[in-house]
Symmetry: C2
Subunit: 343 residues, 2 copies
């Protein structure tokens, strides 16, 4: 701001080059000189201007993070995971919502095109061509979060939605349910699609039919869960269990069940996906799939930092799937589940 490298140099009686070298521990500087410089810098509380340094080095020490939206603990957890690693590595985090895809292109070009960030963490469950095009030609390292499997020449970290869904549906099957319905997530959303695949495969692998009438659309909102259950349970043939593609919809389903006097799990078992905090408070506690969100963020960040420092090659594809584990509640029909404390 006020004091700059020239001033420090003047006061130390050396050139700015020497000051720069001393401060960056870079290049030879006589110990005595270094000490003097360091002391003066400290005295005036001098910090090199990161913008100027950035112009020179093409490094900003900031990481861009683009998320589809900024709501819920879910996205907060991702950010926290990222922030923790950023803090550890002395980096800064620039977050932006893609405002539900509306301005993802702008933000992306701004972040990647013009040196605002050294790297990017991008979560965009629904990718369209334009985005992919930008991603391909941008030179800065980037890691994708929970993106679709197919369009990856990239490095990406994701929750193993398929495995999680498969596991929880198999758990339902283990209970003896034959007619297992599903409230799906939004169309085009990769997470949603993999959870659906997991559901289908689990049924088929266990010689159960995938029945159209037991599958309804949803969009991950409480509301759609509410109406999803309504629809499923107002048919002549009702499912014995329902897999809601996320917990929020399961919450809606609980609400609908309450209104319609449907008992969970006696009349219908319900399971979810995500293990949001709220799911522990439902009664009966929701059986769901735990996804390690914070870890997703921090792992992505750690890898991105390695790409930036060159520790790993940024152009080699890399995919890591974090596996999701079951959390037992009473909503699936289990009676002997560990009555975990809330905290």
């Amino acid at each position: 701001m006020d004091i700059n490298i020239h001033e420090i140099a003047r006061r130390a009686g050396v050139s700015i080059a020497t000051v720069s070298r001393a401060l960056n521990n870079n290049g030879a500087v006589r110990e005595e000189t270094r000490q003097k410089i360091l002391q003066i810098a400290q005295e005036f509380n001098y910090k090199p201007n990161p913008i100027a340094r950035g112009l020179s080095t093409r490094q900003t020490d900031t990481i861009g993070v683009i998320l589809p939206e900024l709501v819920d603990e879910f996205f907060m957890d991702i950010i926290r995971g990222i922030d923790e690693e950023a803090y550890r590595a002395n980096r800064y985090v620039m977050v932006s919502s893609s405002h539900n895809q509306r301005n993802i292109v702008e933000t992306l070009t701004e972040f990647m095109g013009s040196g605002r960030v050294d790297g990017l963490i991008l979560m965009a469950p629904e990718m369209h061509k334009e985005v992919i095009r930008i991603l391909h030609k941008s030179k800065r390292p980037m890691v994708l979060l929970n993106s679709c499997k197919d369009l990856d020449h990239a490095v990406s970290f994701r929750i193993n939605n398929y495995q999680g869904a498969f596991a929880i549906v198999e758990h339902l099957i283990g209970h003896g349910y034959k007619n297992i319905g599903m409230i799906r997530g939004p169309e085009g959303n990769c997470d949603a699609e993999e959870r659906y695949r997991g559901y289908c495969d689990a049924l088929q692998r266990n010689n159960l039919p995938v029945q159209r009438c037991f599958i309804v659309a949803g969009d991950f909102t409480t509301k759609s869960g509410y109406y999803g259950l309504m629809r499923l349970m107002s048919q002549p043939e009702k499912p014995e269990a329902i897999f809601a593609a996320n917990d929020m919809m399961a919450v809606g389903a609980y609400e609908a069940a309450k209104n319609a006097n449907i008992n969970i799990p006696k009349d219908v078992a319900i399971v979810g996906f995500d293990d949001i905090f709220l799911s522990r408070l439902l009664s009966p506690r929701l059986t769901t799939v735990h996804v390690p969100i914070v870890e997703l963020g921090s792992k992505a960040m750690r890898y991105l930092l390695k790409m930036i420092t060159g520790e790993v090659d940024a152009n080699t594809a890399y995919v890591e799937e974090l596996s999701a584990g079951l959390v037992m509640g009473g909503s699936c029909g289990c009676t002997n589940y560990a009555n975990q404390t809330l905290f």
Copy 2:
């Protein structure tokens, strides 16, 4: 990155000064020339390097946001409010947790001291001297969120905790309860303290005594709410109603009540503060105080932007209190509350 202002200038057959002027709509440029430059810039998808521009103009178009931690919808909502305004104003948002005060000093100096951001939004419920010192001598505009009333020569936006607490306690009093307990928030936390003041004043204004035995400590966590209720309800003289200083503690209290077979609101009424999403799902629905969090973020951001552009004077103190409103549930004893839908 690749193409720069010189290249554009060369291709347009003009000097870089003209290009700069054309692109910034700044200074006179012949219409014909401007068009040509714009067209070439577009053709090569040229975006001025913001770092270089920042070095020259001392503006980075980014806003720093420091929050005590990055958890819960609460902080996510603040960020969302900020992000929305940032998007509208073409600014970028750098967020950081102060990691529970651990590194707030570092982050603060990095953000404010060295031109990384044009302005700062800071939430630090517990301010110590060092922080205040830094704040005082930093030249960049800054707005405080929910900070303590007394240490403000600054501009700050806050939720009117006092008024909200006062209102909800008076509501309890209106129910006829005489013995109203409270589970307090963390010591030194301003929000917590104002809520406590609101509680005390509401009692006294209504000629009710503030009784030590009905007040227990808490720290805003579910756990402390759990034990808070336990303690209050295991005394010989029990409160008829409990004001939990935030919803999370109310949630804990619900849990404890369930375990101890205490009926809400028959055995004890419970009210909270914050209106988190979860509170709507409790049964009975929690009566609480709604705090306009998203609005807090966006208002703060809007004002900060005005300070940056000079539309308002950044050195004049300004305080805005957003008032908090009651949200009726059944937990206070109300029976006729609007049974609002979940969505």
